[in-house]
Symmetry: C2
Subunit: 409 residues, 2 copies
């Protein structure tokens, strides 16, 4: 059985060296919201001229924080902005009290920073349905403000962790003719991960100069290809939040059409998305599922997600069993069109099934060898059209049960 306190075997070997993003400063504190002996609140302060874009969970029972962020995200930000995040309590399904907690925190941050409350974004992550002791967070805002530091992003990555076994960071520098743009981000999330989006909090900062509308368009588009293409357990959080802030301090202007900027942001978002899967509760295998030959990209994603979310596929992967029959089952149940007699499946570079049956050249030992790897690629070609999709998931193990059958106690 997996040790719950150990670091995921799929974790990157080290936390990346995140660059300073001029115009963005960070602080963390131990507010004691729920956890003892660790930081559990982070504040990010963005200088005037910054803009913030975002994407949020589509849950019908999303948290008060998410509702508040959504109401503010489209404002452009000449005055700067603040992001304050706590771990330990999600402030979700806390009724009107939850709305009041968000207002109390926003007001306190506005008071201390001099920003309007409409420029303060909050996130809360942790247990659902328990009243957020927002006074403990309010009491730390002054201290947070006084300790803001432009190299504080790695510490912030730690403060927002809940059941995560490692802190998650990613960065890239985009070289443009007008000069370099830096992008650096952090994320948390390890269970309740599925589109739309995951128990996931993601904060990305860049010194690019970009209009809010352009940034918002890029973020929504890339979100569909990254955070909305990962799943750990098919469960969707009430708190999922992705915020991307651009400070403009590089002086390098970009638009939504700038391919190099998009590619750079895509890289950071995909890196963080993969790290969330790699910290999937109890995960021992990282799995990339690619479906091709579907009638549409949407159909391909429906099939890919059905495979990624199937408990029988995920337990077969955990058991290192090349049980491609379960992949067939998942395709069959997905609801999207499939034709048994044109279906092909490969595990890694081993073709296991083609044209509706086991591949004539398939040898079970070859499939079994692939399944022993830590990273496994499953490729399905439906042989029907040109639709494609790639999604990422992990296996389903005793570790997941151990963590989630005893999370709240």
């Amino acid at each position: 059985m997996a040790k719950i306190t150990s670091v995921s075997p799929l974790a990157p070997t080290s936390f990346p060296d995140l660059p300073v993003i001029k115009g963005a400063r960070f602080a963390t504190a131990a507010a004691g919201v729920k956890y003892a002996g660790r930081t559990d609140v982070m504040l990010a302060l963005l200088d005037p001229g910054s803009c913030v874009a975002g994407a949020f969970t589509k849950s019908a029972t999303r948290s008060a924080n998410v509702l508040d962020c959504q109401s503010k995200i489209h404002l452009s930000g000449e005055t700067g902005a603040a992001i304050i995040v706590n771990s330990g309590n999600s402030n979700a399904f806390t009724g009107r009290a939850g709305d009041a907690s968000v207002k109390a925190i926003c007001d306190e941050v506005a008071h201390v920073t001099g920003l309007p409350a409409s420029r303060v974004f909050t996130s809360s992550t942790g247990v659902i349905g328990e009243r957020l002791p927002h006074d403990r967070i309010q009491a730390k805002v002054q201290e947070l403000h006084e300790t803001l530091d432009d190299s504080g992003l790695p510490a912030a990555a730690k403060a927002i962790m809940t059941t995560d076994t490692f802190a998650k960071g990613a960065t890239v520098t985009v070289e443009l003719p007008r000069g370099p743009i830096k992008i650096a981000g952090i994320a948390k999330g390890s269970g309740m991960i599925a589109p739309d989006m995951a128990t996931m909090l993601v904060y990305i900062f860049t010194d690019a100069k970009i209009a809010q509308g352009d940034l918002q368009a890029v973020v929504l588009d890339l979100n569909e290809k990254t955070f909305n293409c990962i799943t750990v357990d098919s469960d969707t959080s009430t708190s999922d939040t992705l915020l991307v802030a651009a400070t403009g301090t590089s002086g390098v202007s970009v638009t939504a059409k700038d391919a190099a900027f998009r590619d750079g942001l895509h890289h950071v978002m995909q890196d963080l998305a993969h790290q969330v899967v790699r910290d999937g509760e109890g995960a021992t295998k990282f799995v990339e599922i690619t479906v091709t030959g579907a009638l549409s990209d949407g159909d391909a994603k429906t099939h890919a997600m059905a495979i990624a979310n199937s408990p029988l596929v995920k337990t077969a992967i955990a058991g290192e069993d090349p049980n491609w029959g379960r992949v067939v089952m998942a395709i069959g149940k997905s609801g999207a069109p499939a034709d048994r007699d044109t279906l092909s499946i490969a595990f890694g570079d081993v073709k296991v099934a083609s044209n509706g049956w086991v591949d004539p050249g398939y040898r079970e030992e070859e499939g079994a060898a692939i399944m022993k790897e830590q990273t496994i690629a499953i490729t399905v070609d439906l042989g029907m059209g040109t639709g494609t999709s790639t999604v990422w998931t992990c296996d389903l193990t005793h570790g997941y049960i151990s963590i989630n059958a005893d999370y709240r106690s």
Copy 2:
């Protein structure tokens, strides 16, 4: 960790005393399809004048057997009919060879029984994607035919088991003014259970006299309320088959509108459906989820199934944790309309949440006490309309992982 070979703790205390259904005879044999030292094939022979109705998986990759049954089910049966079932190999995703296996078995049964092949129904259950050694089944048909017995239904229930930990049977006698009608059925299935329908094979026999069209209409309607309202792991089999045969030997005629007959058949179908859940792989809790106050019955079922299929809800139940926040999460992600501020949740008779937050009278000890029961009722009222639905599921435990991470090896 659950012992895989032990009987489910949720099993009924005994197998029911199934009555003889005149006009239906049964035989079993050990054909060695995959298992050694046990029976793995059953034959049911229905006298002339019987009719057969059925419902089948909607999987796009359903087995050759299912496709063959579907092509035959609407024929009326003056000549009688036969049902032959093997366990150990599902004959699913076996390409053209799968079709040939079905034809070979049907032809052999037709040859031995004198029935036309169009009146022979087959099912296969077990591993997907491996060629069915149908010659081993063909070799037993003569022996099966010679040992047919009208009291052989309980033995048939054993022959069709795969990962089941107990044999499943149910019966009822319907008293009508014109005389009694008997109904008796058997089922198998313990994983890959979800609408539409489950890794489930169900065979029900009655001596009622009813037209095939009427029986088909009743079966499809009741199937939606029974077998399509259970889920173990959200995975849907390629082989799910429900066949209901009416021999007419009671001489008591009924139609699709006969409430007593419908209620009797409903009782047997629901009993068998519950037994399938009670044998859910690794199950330690039987869970009934009722959603009321939805905008429609369909919305209610969407919410109920989202709760029933949520790994986080199912692991909380396994951990005896009254974590109603995860129920809120599941409602939020289901995609059907919900309003946080009109939502109420009860575990058993303990109201845990009302009007969007924890119920003022809720005490955690009361919720925890409910969760220690073996049978748990979760009731959600959405406070929006009059739509209702009830579904049944089990918890998600280490036992499920143990069974499914090592099923094929």
